[in-house]
Symmetry: C2
Subunit: 205 residues, 2 copies
DNA sequence: AAAAGTAATTAAACAGTGTTTAAAAAGTCT
DNA sequence: AGACTTTTTAAACACTGTTTAATTACTTTT
């Protein structure tokens, strides 16, 4: 049936347009301040139509959420070419921070915003599994470092969490504007500077 | 004038009741989901009254925000009795994490939530100055550590930011429920475990 | 004690929100 | 061309933060 094929295609097209509009608006004005009517306006449809493609506003959030993980994972792919595990670990940190600073709103969406957890985490084929995959990759990289004699006396899982937290902490304080006041001068450089200090520490472990 | 004294007292009493109600509701259902009408209901006044005590909803947020910093600073006072700067630094981390885990919603309010920055930071006699004071105390503690031969080759400001970020990262990932999925088993222990790993690292610097 | 003046409090309205409903329009099939 | 589906919409519901003018309560003055 050619017709239902086209219908299916058109359906997906509109779904995509909703997502594109929603993403643009979320990144423009934030999740909370973007209304269903705003999204509908932008794609020149009535608000109601959106509920034929997403159960509610959170499901739109969820869809974008998944896209963010795909983006981040894409960037992580170059790490396979870094053989030295300590170098790989540091490169991972750089990529993570770079991604966060270049896509602050997407990062916010993925790691900071309090999302209706049911929607974000409960579904089966969830990209958080991939997010977890990224975490597991961090863990296995750290395991590799341990095998090479680094981080002796550490628990790899807790250490992984610590290291993830360190980069997350720096970018999230920056994104949520908690350093502008405390560090009035070097606002924009502080995350990169902090990461540098972090690398200095890692080099000694 | 006894009468205007009483009036002043009554005014402050009602202001307090609004704050108490708002805090309870914020911690119950979150900032976004708490409405002015909810707060008014709880104190058995009409919604309009709240605008005679606070310019808008954000100013209520702001008032609570300040209270949080006072609480945290209160806890930090015991640190003056810890002479060894490295021990003081670690104790500071413990207090910070303890405060965050015991008052997750207040911590959220203080360090995670995106607040209307104008209100939160622009006022003169702002508790963020005290928050900044806490950060400066961290910095001076780290300076003390450096004077004792620790952290050689590090920039103290960037290092302070890094260390703050580390503890902030751990508690904020926990508060915003990003570890439940990645670390399904040790959810509640992971922050404390991570802090332990952090201390192990600090002991070597 | 009664009138005047001031401060505290409210009801009502405005423009916006997410979401649901039933009706209308458009497209497809017999 | 008429019956049947799907897509789309307008309208409504119960909320939201905030502002306004009106009302009530209280204090001061006469």
């Amino acid at each position: 049936m050619g017709i239902s094929d086209r219908k299916e295609r058109e359906r997906e097209e509109l779904r995509d347009r909703i997502l594109v509009a929603a993403k643009a608006l979320f990144l423009e004005k934030g999740f909370e301040k973007t209304s269903i009517r705003n999204i509908a306006d932008r794609i020149e449809y009535s608000p109601g139509i959106i509920y034929h493609y997403f159960r509610d506003k959170n499901e739109i959030f969820h869809a974008l959420h998944q896209g963010g993980f795909l983006q981040l994972m894409e960037r992580m792919k170059v790490l396979t070419s870094v053989r030295n595990p300590m170098e790989r670990l540091k490169a991972m940190g750089s990529i993570y921070v770079e991604f966060a600073l270049e896509n602050p709103d997407m990062y916010d969406l993925m790691f900071i915003k309090e999302a209706p957890i049911d929607h974000v985490f409960n579904s089966e084929h969830d990209q958080w599994k991939e997010g977890g995959g990224t975490f597991n990759y961090l863990r296995s990289t750290i395991d590799d470092c341990i095998r090479e004699g680094h981080f002796s006396g550490h628990d790899s899982e807790a250490l992984s969490y610590l290291i993830w937290s360190t980069v997350h902490g720096m970018v999230s304080l920056s994104i949520r504007k908690r350093c502008e006041v405390v560090l009035p001068i070097r606002q924009d450089k502080i995350v990169v500077d902090g990461l540098e200090e972090f690398f200095k520490i890692l080099d000694r472990l």
